[in-house]
């Protein structure tokens, strides 16, 4: 249908059936991200030691984009270093906030395909926060 481009097949399927929901065992950090504007809420649970993220799980109450973003984020950062995860978050935000005419090649080089699924949101600024909310929460969890 029209407008479905905002909802990549991957986003749809992960929003319906998240693969990383719940909470981790031997949790080292948990943090809640809220978007008061729309009531979206993401609760992250993670185990990170020695600068490495070993496991991430989320409980998300929100729209399809927020749900899928949390889930794909969990997948993308599991096993990566904290530094890399934070850097990935920055690149993800950059991709979304850069006007759609610029920076097309760069994304593909640096972002996992799963995250590129959100690229069509660029033209829908009011929904950006839905995609970045889990990342903001992750940033908080990792730097607190």
């Amino acid at each position: 249908m029209d407008g479905s481009s905002c909802y990549d097949a991957l986003i749809l399927s992960r929003s319906r059936k998240p693969e990383f929901s719940g909470s981790v065992e031997e949790e080292t950090a948990t943090v809640q991200g809220n978007n008061p504007v729309c009531g979206d809420r993401v609760t992250l649970s993670l185990r990170a030691t020695d600068g490495t993220i070993h496991a991430v799980r989320h409980q998300t109450r929100g729209c399809a984009i927020c749900m899928a973003s949390a889930d794909l984020m969990a997948e993308a950062v599991t096993g990566s270093s904290i530094t890399d995860a934070l850097e990935l978050g920055r690149r993800f935000a950059d991709m979304l906030e850069t006007p759609s005419s610029q920076n097309m090649i760069a994304d593909e080089d640096v972002l996992p395909v799963g995250l590129q699924a959100f690229r069509p949101l660029r033209t829908h600024r009011s929904r950006l926060r839905c995609a970045t909310l889990p990342w903001t929460a992750l940033g908080e969890a990792l730097t607190q």
Partner: protein, 403 residues
Amino acid sequence: MNIAEIRAQFPILSEKVHGKPLVFLDSAASAQKPDVVIDAMAQMMRSQYANIHRGLHWMSERATEAYEVSRNRVASFLGGAREEIVFTRNSTEAINLVAYSYGSLLKPGQAVLISEMEHHANLVPWQMLRDRAGIELRVAPITDDGDLDLDAYGRLLSDGRVALVAITHMSNVLGTITPAERLVTMAHDAGAKILLDGSQAVVHRKIDVQKLGVDFYVFTGHKLYGPTGIGVLWARRELLEAMPPFMGGGDMISHVTFERSTWAPIPAKFEAGTPAIVEAIGLGTAIDWVENIGYEAIGAHEAALTAHALRVLPEVPGFSVVGKPKERGGVISFTMEDVHPHDIATLLDRNGIAVRAGHHCAEPLMHRLGLTATARASFGIYTTEEEIDTLAETLRRIRQFFV
């Protein structure tokens, strides 16, 4: 009422959005403006503009006259006297004015009574007053259908400590029209003054503040097919006269020395500084335009639209209407199983249909309803049944897409 003719007066309605004809179902957030309003504002700035009051020259006299004529129009629109009409930026400022000014006359031990279905504009100012003045804030519950619980309302009034009731005349979320006369009588019987937030109600029905018997009435221009930047507080003369000014500055004074100042008579006392002159003229024009169409025709049109919507929308799989009030205006909040309201709004938008989604500035009401957000379709004079059919059809496809 000829809808095609009316629509032709709203240039924006022939715009396209994402290549689709615009279907604007967000009038409860802010209505579109007819040509006459836009033209009246432009025309004033093109040919008859100057600052008002105390100008001794022609342009200023004409502008002052036009501004005061708008005040007269608002007065007769609400059934009040011209001195009782205070121009503000919007409903929000009107309520804050009452909370600051009338509120400063309240004493610890007294209470303000609101309801569970208030817009933040009729909640936060009273919270701030509570914290500033040490008064109590009481909240009248609603029923599961979304009506005010009148028994509970009566009980909350019964100890006689409520100084002011502040309640919406129509909910922007549930569409509920509250039983104003009843609320007024009960408030007065308990010795309380009562303010009605008419932001939504005034768009849908004829208001007569005398018949309602209310003490304060507020509304906002931009929802009534008028400009942004202009709203109205009506209050009984005795109240306005007893209330201290809200803001200080030019035009609201009688005499100023460094030691002390005295205030101008009402309504000037409450209009400090250069007002939204052009916007007041725009609002006056919008009111003329609305009254010309007539509330009878508007009411009939909206009732038909709402009935139609309540017939076709619930046939969409997974659709549920939020609230089932006894009496409702042209506002329908809804949810759809397995699709978040934001995703509904985004996909509707991609198909040219503008609705709102979120908590609609009524977070505590959402909480009461056990929701975090709803989608909301709201109708205006220019809305057609076909647009509602398009909405239903598109919702059906959205649901298919997600499930």
